[in-house]
Amino acid sequence: MSNKNLSEIDGLVHPELVGVEVVDESGGDISRGDVILKGALAAGAVYGTFMVGPFVRSAFAMGGGTSDVDILNFALTLEYLESTFYEEAMKKVKASGELKPLIKMLAGDEKQHVEALEGTIKKLGGKPVAKPTFNFEYSGTSGFLKLAETFENVGVGAYNGAAPAIKSKEVLAAAGSIVQVEARHAAAIALQNGMEPAPEAFDKALEEKEVLKDVEPFIA
């Protein structure tokens, strides 16, 4: 194990990050997962300091002994939440026009994500987490849309934050195919909400803690 200055790593030099020390346990050989913090810092170096925060915090949360099953179970919890949310909304929200079929589509997509994640966790020899009991309080279409936008954007940030810590290429591709759909959902909901569908050129990665903070109020 050696401590390296970030500026020495793979030529990824950024003045803001000189002096940031990261622990290199791999003898300088970058591989996915075990040196995720280093990767996160380097991503910040590449993309500018505005990106460093989320990446680094994500790295702390996801680094070390986090297995693919852990990450998939984390994702599964979010998909349970989204799936239940839209399932309920189909009955609860008096949607008209385009919104009605949109909610139905969202419910269907999230349900398929749940099933796919459960299947994948089992296939990897893991045990899918139990579905929590959720409690969504909102009123009217606007209350629904606001919450939906939060959940979809949290979903995108969560997958983007966790994905670099995924070890299996297959699991990574699967997560990628889901996060793209979450981003599409987020854009569609934003449009319904009168917000920018793609407010920034780069989507932020969220750390586990941030994600939990956003969703915990809805877990009974």
């Binding site: 996915r32 793209q180 987020a186 449009l191």
Partner: protein, 229 residues
């Protein structure tokens, strides 16, 4: 009505466009979206498996690792491949903005997306350099800009293709930092694609609950008609 005006100014141009059936119809007036349909067909159908990790997970098959070799080795090749696509997207939006085919809110949407693509170009360019590689050169391009409808369709095709192209490479990226960066761009391409699909009156998720990846060959074949010289 100042209150209404204020509220309306808070909303994004694209959202207003989507909410306004009249301008939306003008933006599109699209029948089938054949270009996109053809593209998606080329990307392969299916995607109904309950387990995500199957032999069908083609994007990550070992043999495809060298697909981007023509753009450089390893991650540099993948980044240069992405850079080439981003160059094309940026040039496309620049031409569209200059074409005079769009005005007002439509124009604002296309400008916004174009500026985001330009930021992707800048980020990829500097990332390739920081990895010690030589950034791909900007291809000379030409796009058919006949009318608003065909251009809107082409924009949709290009964005869906871009999202599929990034997804196709995610599993091939070696370094976590490059992967994190690519992911942060990938989901923005997806947002663009879903927005344009909405404006075109098409499904925001044309391949259902799971997005499908496109391999390098498919992507390059699709953009080839727009590269000149």
């Amino acid at each position: 009505m100042p209150e209404l005006d204020q509220r309306s100014s808070e909303r994004s141009a694209v959202a207003r466009l989507v909410k306004d059936p009249v301008s939306r119809r003008k933006f599109i007036a699209v029948g089938g979206g054949t270009g996109l349909a053809a593209l998606l067909a080329a990307c392969g159908g299916g995607g109904n498996s309950t387990t995500m990790v199957t032999n069908e997970s083609k994007p990550m098959a070992e043999g495809m690792k060298s697909e981007t070799e023509q753009f450089g080795k390893g991650d540099i090749g993948i980044l240069n491949y992405a850079l080439t696509l981003e160059y094309l997207e940026t040039a496309f939006y620049e031409e569209v903005v200059k074409s005079g085919l769009f005005k007002g809110e439509e124009l604002a949407v296309l400008k916004k997306f174009g500026s985001e693509e330009a930021q992707h170009v800048a980020a990829l360019n500097s990332t390739v350099k920081k990895l010690g590689g030589k950034p791909a050169t900007k291809p000379k391009s030409e796009f058919p800009l006949e009318n608003a409808k065909s251009v809107a369709e082409l924009a949709g095709t290009v964005e869906n293709l871009g999202a599929a192209a990034y997804l196709g490479q995610a599993g091939n990226i070696e370094s976590p930092e490059v992967l994190a960066a690519a992911l942060s761009i990938h989901s923005v391409e997806a947002r663009h694609a879903a927005t344009l699909n909405t404006l075109l009156g098409m499904s925001i998720t044309p391949t259902g609950a799971f997005a499908e990846a496109a391999d390098v060959k498919t992507v390059l074949k699709s953009v080839e008609p727009f590269i000149v010289g």
